[in-house]
């Protein structure tokens, strides 16, 4: 079972306490966006085998959204941070690089 720390209330929450929200850091496309950009925003996913950023809601707790930095191949969790963050914080990037040397954030 996945256990994630809610960055708001500090609770180590079991997966059953949380609701998954899919890939994080997906940028919304405005009305002027092309069909391709809109399709990419709605459907196309990185679906990485490795480092992954994912939205979760502390549904049976404080109710707030946060982002988990995880590894989909090893199931390691690198850390969590509030959903109102548009790129992984430096501490998370360091935690990832310690385990995956040379890893680069690609927006």
């Amino acid at each position: 079972m996945l256990i994630l720390e809610c960055p708001f209330c500090g609770i180590m929450a079991d997966e059953t306490e949380l609701a998954p929200g899919g890939e994080a850091h997906v940028r919304r496309v405005g009305p002027e966006g092309s069909d391709e950009a809109f399709e990419a925003y709605l459907f196309m996913r990185r679906n990485p085998c490795g480092v992954h950023f994912e939205l979760w809601r502390h549904a049976h707790g404080c109710g707030r959204w946060f982002i988990a930095a995880r590894n989909t191949l090893t199931l390691e969790v690198y850390g969590t941070y509030p959903a109102q963050t548009d790129r992984p914080p430096a501490a998370i990037v360091r935690a990832i690089r310690r385990r995956v040397p040379g890893w680069e954030w690609q927006p």
């Binding site: 996913r45 990185r46 992954h52 989909t72 191949l73």
Partner: protein, 474 residues
């Protein structure tokens, strides 16, 4: 010894791998398998079977009742390997990545329907070791949308004759599939599906709770939490032996001269001027004129190598089996509201499948609480299973699309085609999918079965929405 059993023991390449493949899969072996295999072979031999392709039959030694008698007389020393394990050539006309059911069926129909045999199927592990060897083997075609009904019914119909076509006993058992309606919403949904199926020519009916109880005496229809309000019943749905489907296709492909190369992971895709020209593998570069990617949960990785993204997410789906018991259930029962489905294998084990995890995962391990939820709900509907011990549990990485329908499509890279997105329910589709994919790869344009399943449907907003109709979808 039946052909499936023999395939397991004589199968090409890596016997140790086969053991672990079998161990991770449903394990429907044992005495029951031997007996039923022999019976089917005998009845098959009595019919005049029309071989699928002359060259196939000439190249492979046919399995038959006579062959069993002959081999029995010489202590079974004469059985040959079911398929060859050749060294890869430098290039092929068509390379298929992934020797699961869909990849192997694609190869088979390329040979059988289009006469193309300069084909290699590259597999990173052992053939059938992915989801094809991990699923709960439910076969049905009672989908809501017309394009789905067409391809799943094509597949179901091909399952009816598969053992004869491949001369390999895949143990297709059209025992009937029942999808329980346990909420008012579900009941209305299934009534709608029954009407849609009538128009599509797929034989289904909506049956009453009393009829459900008649067909499944161990069921509790009165609830309390999940009363049975009726069921969508497809009498010609059922199950087949998953490994045998992969082995049967592999044997037929090998007999046509195709190369099935195991332990050959594809690590890169080579292109020249926007056109695919080959693949990098752990066993060196292999050239090809056309490439078919058929790797289920790993589709995203292969797409990345080819330079495009897919509307796919990879998640874990789990199943488990109980200890074997006497026959208690002779149909397949699916309870989508509670994410559980159950059937009894020939060996007597109850085969139980659960729901998918809500997060991306490549580990073939799912979350335990899903298993717990599934079992808890099934115990309420089938009280007699509460005392059974569960013996094995496993997961597979399934490839989920936004509309829960598959992708059979050209890709942005010319000469490269993809077949994926079967998600939680692609075992039933294997022959139909292979048929449609072979046509797409051979001709370069999709035929009527594949056309609606192109990648462009997401941009066009032309979904084939099975997410509501299918629920957990198997």
């Amino acid at each position: 010894m039946g052909p499936a059993e023999e395939g397991r023991q004589k199968a090409g390449g890596n016997v140790a791998n086969f053991r672990s493949s079998a161990a991770s899969s449903l394990g429907k072996r044992g005495a029951a398998l031997h007996v039923s295999s022999v019976i089917v072979i005998l009845s098959g031999a009595a019919r005049v079977s029309r071989p699928p392709c002359r060259s196939v039959v000439e190249a492979m030694k046919r399995y038959s009742a006579l062959a069993i008698a002959r081999e029995a007389a010489r202590y079974h020393r004469g059985w040959e390997r079911a398929w060859a394990s050749p060294e890869p050539k430098g290039d092929y006309e068509i390379v298929i990545v992934g020797a699961g059911g869909h990849g192997l069926a694609t190869a088979y129909y390329l040979g059988r329907n289009f006469g193309i045999t300069d084909v290699a199927v590259l597999e990173k592990g052992w053939l059938g070791g992915g989801n094809t060897g991990r699923n709960t083997t439910i076969i049905r075609s009672n989908y809501l949308q017309d394009p789905s009904a067409a391809i799943y019914e094509k597949a179901r119909a091909l399952y009816e004759t598969m053992s004869r076509d491949l001369n390999f006993n895949v143990m297709f058992s059209p025992r009937g599939v029942m999808m329980l309606a346990q909420t008012e919403h579900e009941r209305r949904g299934y009534l709608r599906t029954v009407h849609a199926n009538a128009l599509q020519g797929v034989k289904t009916e909506f049956i009453t709770p009393e009829r459900v109880k008649e067909l499944v005496p161990i069921i509790r229809i009165e609830g309390p939490r999940y009363p049975v309000l009726g069921a969508l019943w497809q009498p010609r749905g059922g199950t087949a032996r998953h490994d045998a489907v992969a082995w049967g296709y592999a044997r037929a492909c090998s007999a046509m001269g195709m190369h099935i190369i195991q332990n050959c992971e594809v690590t890169g895709i080579v292109s020249e001027g926007g056109r695919v020209s080959g693949v990098e593998t752990v066993r060196g570069r292999i050239g090809c004129r056309k490439l078919a990617i058929v790797v289920a949960g790993h589709s995203g990785r292969l797409a990345e190598m080819a330079g495009f993204r897919l509307p796919i997410e990879s998640v874990a789906l789990q199943a488990l089996v109980s200890e074997p018991v006497r026959p208690v259930l002779d149909v397949v029962v699916m309870a989508n509201t509670v994410h559980g489905y159950i059937s009894q294998s020939d060996k007597g084990e109850l085969v139980i499948g659960g729901g998918t995890d809500g997060f991306n995962n490549y580990t073939q391990r799912g979350s335990f609480h899903h298993v717990e939820e599934t079992v808890r709900a099934l115990v309420e509907t089938f009280p007699i299973i509460s005392r059974l011990r569960m013996m094995r549990q496993w997961g597979g990485i399934v490839d989920m699309t936004g509309d829960r329908s598959p992708i059979i499509s050209k890709t942005p890279l010319e000469g490269c085609f993809i077949n994926c997105g079967w998600g939680t329910g692609g075992f039933k589709a294997i022959p139909g999918s292979g048929w449609a994919m072979a046509e797409l790869v051979a001709r370069g344009t999709p035929g009527p079965l594949a056309a609606p399943f192109g990648l462009e449907r997401f941009r066009e907003g032309r979904f084939i929405d099975e997410s509501v109709a299918a629920g957990v979808a198997h």
